[in-house]
Structures are given as C-alpha cells and as structure tokens.
Symmetry: C2
Subunit: 363 residues, 2 copies
C-alpha cells in the first residue's frame, strides 16, 4: 500500500496546532482507553484469522458510529517500514503497532490497523484489541477526556467490551485493567533540566501515582527535554479522579517550570541567552544534523521562544519542526528511502529553510 | 597620555587591506630590521637617561628622513595598559615593548616609543634601539624588503649604526646579528590543520632554515590556525638570499594548503561545509564569545570564504574582525576598561553585527 496522508483528516496533526492552555510548555494532552472485545483472545495470543475477525468487526462497528464513520482506516501491516515509521513519528500509532520494536525493517503487527479522525484515533490489534486515543493541543486533559468518553460510549454501544464487574475493563496487561485509561501530557521542561531540579520533580511524580516517559513512549529516551507524564495506575479510582490528579500535578509542574525559567533569566541571563542563540545559530546554518542533536537544539530554541528571546518564531513552527524533521517525514518529502547520512543532510536543509523563512529576527 | 588613533596614518592598519597576492591565505608580509646606535648600551642594559637620549636622537634623525618626517610618534611608556594592549593587538608594537610580558597591568618599557607611517613602523628602545618594520598586505616579501631597505638607508644616513665588518649589524641578542633581518608572513593554514599535515609541514620549515610562531610572535599560542613563518638565521647570507628562501618555501606551503583544501572538499565536502557553517552560525548568533573561541571560529569562516562557501563575505571583513574583535579594541570602542566577561559580551555583539551587515548569504 502507498500511504496517502491526505486521506487522514488534518494529517492526524490536529494536536500540533499550538493552541490551548499553556501551549508553550504543554505540547499536547492525550487520553488513551484500552478496550477488548468479549469472546476473542487478546491480540498477543490470537492467531491472524482471529485478529482479522476483530478488525472486521471493529470496522463495521465504526461505520455505525457517527464520529468514526468518516475516519481513514490504515492497515498498518500493509504499510512499508518507512510509512509505519512516519505514522509513529506523528504519534498516530505506537511503536509496538508499527512493529518498530524489532528493528526498522520488521513487519507491522498482523491485522494491525488504525482508524483516524481529526483528533482521535483507534488502534486495532495493538496489545489490546482497541486503543482509543484522543489528542488535544496544549493542556486540555478535561476536553480530551470528555471526547474520549463520548467515543467510547458510542463504540461500546456497537461492540461487546470485555468487562468484569469487579476488575472493570479487562486488558492484555494487568497494569491497564480497571479504567483502561491513561491520561498523559507531552511537556517541555528545559528550565527544570537546566536548573537541575528535574530529578526531584520526576521523583515527586511517582509519589503522586504518576510516571514519565520519553517522547515516543515506553522505553524511549528523553530527548529535547520532552517528557510524557501520565498516570501509573488505572484500577481502583474513576477516570475523573485519575485525570484530576494528573491535571493538579501537571499544573504544579508547569508552575515550577515557569519559576525555573524566571530564575535562569535572573541568575544566568546572558549565559542562557548565549546557549539558546547558539542553538539557533547551529540549526539555522548547519549542513548536517543528526536527529538527536536536532531535537536537543530545537528544545533550546523552543525555550528561547518561551523566554521571548526569539519573538519572531511561533510555537507552531517549532512543533512543526519537531515532527517534520524526523527521518521518515524527510524521506516522505523526498519521495525515497534515505540513509542516515542522507537524512541528516535533508534534516539540516529542512530546518534551516524553515528558520530562514519563518524566524524574523532582530540583529 | 590618551592615544589618538586618528594620528596614525591608516590607523596603522594598511596591512589589513586584504589586497596583494594570495591575500586569502597570506594575511600579511613583514620585514623587520634590528639596528642599534653606535656609542650607546643596548636597551636592556641602558639606564633610563641613556634610553631617552637614544629616543631623542632617533626622533631628530626621523625628522630629517622624508618618509618618516610625518610619522606619528607614540610614547608607549606613557600609554595606559589598555592603549599598549591595543597597539600590540594591531601588531604595531611588540609584546615586549608594550610591557605585556609582565602581565596586563605592567609598565611599558622606559623611553619606549614607536614611529608610525602608513605601512612602516620604527620601534625605539625595544630589545634593540631600532626595530624597523614594514608591513604589506598579502604575500609581498619583495615589496616589503625594498621599502625597508630604502628606509634603512635613509635612516642610516642620519644616525651611526653599530656595525662590525665581520659580524655585520650588532644586536642585543646574537640571534639577530648579521643582517638583523627577519622576514615573515602571517599565514592561515586551516586546510593543513584539518588534513593533519601541518606537523609535517612545520617540521619541514626547520630543515629549510625557517621557523614558525603564533599570531602574536615568540611564545604566543597558535590560535585560529594562524602561523607566522620567518627565517631563523640572520647571519652568513644576504638579505635577498634570506628573503628569497622564505618566499620559495612559503610559496610551496601555499600550494600545499590549496591542495589540502581541494582534498577536503573532495573527500569530506559536506563534513567540512557543515563544520564551517556551524562556525558561522555561532559567530552570527552567540551572545558571549571568548577570545580564543572567536579566533578559532573566524578561522573556520575564513576557510569557508576561501572555499567559496560564503561568497558574500570578503577577506577584508574577516581581517577586520580578527583585529577589532580583540579585547583592547573592544574596550577602545566602548570607551572604558572591560572585564573579561564584559569583553566576551562586547565581542559577540561586535562580531554578529558585522556579520549581519556584511554577510549576504544564500538561505
């Protein structure tokens, strides 16, 4: 199959808009619900035929749900490795569903698919039969929760969920049982990293029942000072309680980040300014940019924009750079597979062109 | 005394013009002649009264020499430490005459002075009574030699030089005895440094009777891939022979540098391009720039200009940046003494302003 991104509403990038509360610090908010169909083995234990039956049943149910009727359905297992990588870079499918855990050339998960609307997605045959996700730009867990609950009700009216009156929603991995919900924010914390307070903050999360991951979920490295903060437990409390707890703690983290930025400017103003302008200078002029370096430099430029040192540069431009400077996106733009070296050249060219066009700078 | 730079013809920066042969690689050519007056102790052994008599005799002689009649006479020992530093940064007085060898706050050498015309200078009461220097922009040892010989003849007709029929011109240090001549070029060799051939080239110089130093003469570090190559011996051969030997060897060094640049572009084109553009990006945007780092980054940008990667930037602009980004020059521009931290801020501002105004770049 050739992935036609134009079929996906908003290209699946609604969450990139840099709108919403605290959009300079919180890139996006996400609610993910894990659900399974009664009467079928969980995907990791199901043969291909059974997985296909799950997929067909869900597609047919989605056709009866108004909000999902016009969703694009992408058979991830029929995509090329590059296309799956691209969907993953766009946060539309998990690393697992894209089959990326077994190396860049591995097959996608059999009968794996994703239904995509503007701000919601339904992953099929990932670890659970259904992983329903709603993304919002900025800090809007409440909005994402409302929308995900609505979709969940509508879909649940069309298919029988595996549910237990004592445990709640049953899932392949017991850590998701109960509400099956994970609420998370993708948050940029360069101030806390530079003031070296980040370890204390991350430790604090755990005492509050929260956890953190890198940009691309479980097991991914923290790059560019971007963290995904989410609830750790799913059982024993309601969705609202879990979401409220996350919102309360994240609000406190945002305050601490803002305080850290004030302290940096007050105590080390020109050192920070220098560091961030140098990051900008490298992004603006380098001719080859490895992915990790680009991410870390973009983090610096994002902080500079947040501190009003780079008033000409919008948070939306930075969000766009973050996603579109990734290897599969660059390869898609060039219409061919790129080696790592070629991707580094293409990345440098893409980044410096965007910055040349979109950053209106003082001397 | 307050140093009035406007009294010095061309500000003493005639050699900065980036004109002349191979000006992209050879910044300047210099002939220096060491002379002493008969009947006076060499300066290191002379008391202040004797040194003052030497100075008065030389000033009065200079008044009778047409090319020196309008020279600015600067009493280096009456300058502030910052002014002496500035004269040294401009290569108009030696480290020794400026008294900088004993720390930045030390006194200038007693009765030390310099007479300055557009392209020539006469240091008085340095290690020898007279250090006559002629600078030319680019690679022009022959021109500098002709001019220095003319001045030497004219001055020698007015004062009695200490001369011995067997040893030639007598000097305070025996290594200068004979012709008293040092011919040197200030040469930029980043290609040979990057291809790691520089050690072999520098070693080769010694077999040819030449030696090298850093940007600011004896004992100074090599910074920014800038080398001063000069003759090591002054005795036993004529001025012309010594100068011809230097010219022959430097011509060969220039060829090797050009060859190294071709090899770099051929074998590592985009790595080099990336390295040099990053240097440009840092200079163009940094908010604080230590002196050594600035020199090394400017070396990269100079190489980029030489490889036609930065077609909008002139060699003259780079020469100007090299001199005017130094601490005493920055302090002079700001009209006050700067701490190291303040100088780093002022340097970054000066460099990025010049580059913003003078580098017309493609995206």
């Amino acid at each position: 199959m050739t992935l036609d991104l134009s079929l996906i509403p908003d290209g699946g990038l609604h969450w990139l808009a840099a709108s919403g509360e605290h959009a300079g610090i919180v890139l996006s908010s996400r609610i993910r619900l894990a659900r399974n169909l009664a009467g079928f083995a969980f995907p990791p234990r199901a043969r291909e035929g059974e997985r296909l039956r799950v997929l067909h049943q869900l597609r047919s149910a989605a056709g009866r749900v108004p909000s999902l009727r016009d969703a694009a359905c992408i058979r991830v297992d029929e995509c090329t490795p590059q296309e799956r990588q691209l969907l993953h870079e766009r946060h539309l499918v998990s690393r697992e569903l894209a089959g990326l855990e077994h190396g860049p050339g591995a097959l996608g998960v059999a009968a794996g698919a994703v239904l995509l609307t503007g701000e919601a997605g339904v992953m099929v045959n990932e670890e659970d039969h259904i992983r329903l996700q709603v993304f919002r730009s900025g800090f809007d867990i409440a909005g994402a929760l409302r929308e995900s609950e609505r979709l969940d009700r509508e879909l649940g009216a069309e298919v029988p969920y595996a549910w237990h009156r004592e445990f709640g929603y049953l899932t392949a991995c017991p850590t998701n049982t109960g509400t099956g919900m994970r609420a998370s924010v993708l948050i940029h914390l360069p101030g806390l990293v530079l003031t070296q307070e980040i370890a204390k903050v991350l430790q604090g999360l755990q005492h509050m029942g929260l956890t953190y991951r890198g940009l691309y979920g479980e097991g991914s490295d923290v790059l560019g000072n971007l963290f995904q903060i989410s609830n750790q437990t799913t059982l024993g409390r309601s969705e609202d309680e879990l979401a409220d707890q996350l919102v309360r703690v994240v609000r406190r983290v945002i305050e601490r980040e803002e305080e850290a930025r004030r302290v940096l400017l007050r105590d080390a103003g020109y050192i920070i300014e220098d560091k961030l302008w140098r990051a900008f200078g490298t992004l603006r002029h380098a001719r080859t940019l490895p992915a990790d370096e680009a991410m870390n430099l973009l983090s610096g430029v994002r902080l500079a924009a947040g501190l009003n040192l780079l008033p000409g540069l919008s948070v939306y431009t930075l969000n766009k750079l973050l996603i579109f400077s990734q290897t599969a996106h660059l390869a898609h733009a060039e219409g061919r597979v790129l080696t790592e070296g070629e991707a580094n050249l293409a990345r440098a060219k893409y980044v410096r062109t965007v910055l040349a066009n979109e950053a209106k700078l003082p001397g």
